[in-house]
């Protein structure tokens, strides 16, 4: 059964702008690992204000595509453009500097540290004046305030920013990881299987969060195995198969069967 479009959430104020130049674009990406060709001339575009889902079977090239777009892997061939300019990501840090934040499947959080520390990890703020410059003292109170404000603006319900991340539920941790990705004013957020380990309620919370991020003007790329969730949150769906993009689907126009067909190759995109 397809997901009727009537149950889709109301369209937000910002609609994806398909007439504008893509924020991130890649064409003809090729990546080989030894004798295995993970990407065989893959294309990709991400437009402003959209949630783009990337789907495909195992081995279709989703993870490799994401790795390349986040700077974790270097393509053997192909071109990447950020806001129209050609870019070569040297490493994930470089991609991050250029504005692409990735939330990995294992979240990359330090469980023993509190939420504030995790949000500011690598970007800590020092106290003003001598305390900060000479004694390198952290401005914990300011960071905690900012953290709390930020989490609130994303409507993530956690009581204390001083809680250790390991005391949070899976969904809350996902929220922290996403908040960290979004908090630094990035241009693009990529999420790898954000709801894979979560139950129904927490998945819904994360999908809400994804929408909130998009509504703030940050386009989101989501890899997911769950077509129902994809149909619920995505504006557009990119289908990968055998290392290439085989089709694009719109939840408003296509059915889940259509997309399944593209994934398995039974139907052309």
């Amino acid at each position: 059964m397809t997901m009727p479009s009537a149950t889709k959430p109301r369209r937000p104020a910002f609609s994806p702008d398909y007439n504008a130049e893509p924020v991130l674009q890649a064409s003809g990406l090729v990546k080989r690992y030894g004798r295995v060709t993970a990407l065989d001339g893959a294309d990709f575009e991400l437009y402003p204000n959209e949630v783009l889902a990337i789907v495909g079977d195992n081995g279709a090239g989703k993870s490799t595509l994401i790795k390349i777009l986040s700077g974790a892997a270097i393509p053997d061939a192909g071109e990447i453009r950020l806001d129209g300019q050609v870019v070569h990501f040297r490493n994930p840090l470089h991609a991050r500097e250029l504005g692409i934040e990735t939330v990995f499947q294992d979240l990359a959080l330090a469980p023993g540290l509190d939420i504030t520390s995790n949000l500011f990890l690598g970007r800590e703020e020092r106290m003003p004046g001598l305390a900060g410059r000479l004694f390198r003292k952290l401005d914990k109170r300011a960071m905690q305030r900012q953290a709390a404000a930020h989490m609130q603006s994303l409507k993530i319900g956690i009581r204390s920013m001083a809680q250790a991340v390991e005391t949070l539920s899976g969904g809350q941790r996902q929220g922290v990881a996403i908040a960290r990705a979004v908090s630094w004013g990035r241009r693009i957020v990529i999420m790898d299987e954000p709801t894979a380990a979560l139950g129904v309620q927490e998945s819904a919370m994360v999908l809400d969060l994804i929408r909130t991020v998009r509504d703030r003007g940050v386009p989101v790329v989501v890899i997911s195995h769950s077509l129902p969730q994809v149909f619920e949150v995505a504006d557009r769906i990119q289908v990968m198969r055998l290392g290439r993009r085989v089709g694009i689907a719109f939840p408003e126009r296509h059915t889940m069967d259509d997309v399944v067909g593209m994934i398995t190759g039974a139907r052309a995109g």
């Binding site: 991050r96 023993g112 004694f135």
Partner: protein
């Protein structure tokens, strides 16, 4: 019973105490503090001369060398490493300092030479662990032997005696308000204070814990993992040089045969003090408490008149007990 009545002072005090206890428990310090109190109660009951200021200061002096080594060891354990060489690196530094001083080199230069040795060892160890990605256990085990050989070589396999008093300064006492305080204990406390501040109040401290807790995560979030790792080993090295001065002050000679078991003793102190051997967890105050717990046990047992062999059994039991209690009060969610 008005809901808006202010809580009684007794209630507030109990609430504050509960809060403090919870903070200590979270930091892994509640257990060690209770252990110290228990030891004081038990030994104080068995021997009247145990629970005196003089004896407590004596315990501090007996434990300060291992406590200092344990602080350095903990920095390395926090970043998911282990240091099996620290005792011998300390001894090597003491030998170098002594050899230079006896040869007429100015005291400050001699002491700096010792610091250079320990920091140098830390640098090489850190580079091997961070850049060449060798396991810390193996690296430091190798350097244990290197430091031992160098110490024997430089000292001609004999204790260096008749050292200038300046080198032995940390073994002296200072009189404050009529009581004699060991100077070395203040040095150890200074090391603890500086390390505690750095770990708690600076970005470096956050990075250290993050690195030990989840190194891949730290790397992905932009922490300069290699730099932090190497800095941990170098900082520990500097701390070991302070321990060398404590050793010189206490034994008045530079003895190349010393320090053989100090590595395990410092690890024991850290574990008893609540440091997780997996890294990323534990307060730096814990290892110092752990050193005091072991020192107090040995002191108490000797005062009560227990033979050396049974003391070893007692310490072994203590370590197991400490780990058991740590497990109990921290629950299974923490590794």
């Amino acid at each position: 019973m008005s809901a808006t009545a202010a809580p009684s002072p007794g209630r507030r005090a109990r609430h504050a105490a509960a809060l403090a206890a919870e903070q200590l428990r979270a930091a892994g310090l509640l257990g060690p503090i209770l252990a110290i109190l228990a030891e004081i109660a038990i030994f104080g009951g068995l021997a009247p001369r145990f629970a005196t200021t003089r004896n407590f200061l004596l315990i501090a002096e007996q434990a300060m060398e291992i406590a200092t080594l344990a602080i350095g060891q903990t920095l390395i354990i926090l970043v998911a490493g282990i240091d099996l060489a620290n005792g011998l690196v300390m001894v090597l530094a003491s030998v170098v300092m002594a050899k230079f001083a006896v040869a007429g080199v100015p005291l400050v230069v001699a002491i700096l030479a010792g610091f250079a040795v320990t920091a140098g060892f830390g640098l090489v160890e850190g580079v091997l662990v961070a850049l060449i990605e060798l396991p810390p256990f193996i690296v430091t085990l190798g350097f244990f032997n290197v430091a031992l050989a160098l110490a024997l070589l430089i000292s001609n396999e004999a204790s260096i005696i008749n050292l200038p008093p300046g080198l032995l300064a940390l073994g002296n006492n200072v009189s404050i308000g009529g009581t004699e305080f060991p100077v070395g204990v203040f040095a150890m406390l200074a090391v603890l204070l500086i390390t505690w501040y750095a770990l708690r109040e600076t970005a470096w401290g956050r990075h250290m814990y993050a690195l030990g807790d989840n190194a891949p995560a730290a790397r992905l979030t932009g922490v300069r993992v290699n730099r932090v790792l190497i800095s941990a080993y170098v900082t520990a090295g500097v701390i070991y040089a302070v321990a060398a001065l404590l050793l010189l002050g206490r034994t008045t000679v530079a003895n190349p045969d010393a320090g053989q078991t100090a590595n395990l003793e410092s690890i024991t102190a850290a574990v008893i003090g609540g440091i997780s051997l997996f890294g990323g967890r534990g307060s730096i105050v814990g290892p110092v408490l752990g050193a005091f717990i072991v020192g107090m046990l040995q002191n108490g047992l000797t005062i009560v008149g227990v033979d050396a062999l049974y003391q070893d059994i007692a310490i072994g039991l203590l370590v197991i007990l400490a780990v058991m209690l740590d497990r109990l009060q921290r629950g299974r969610s923490v590794r």
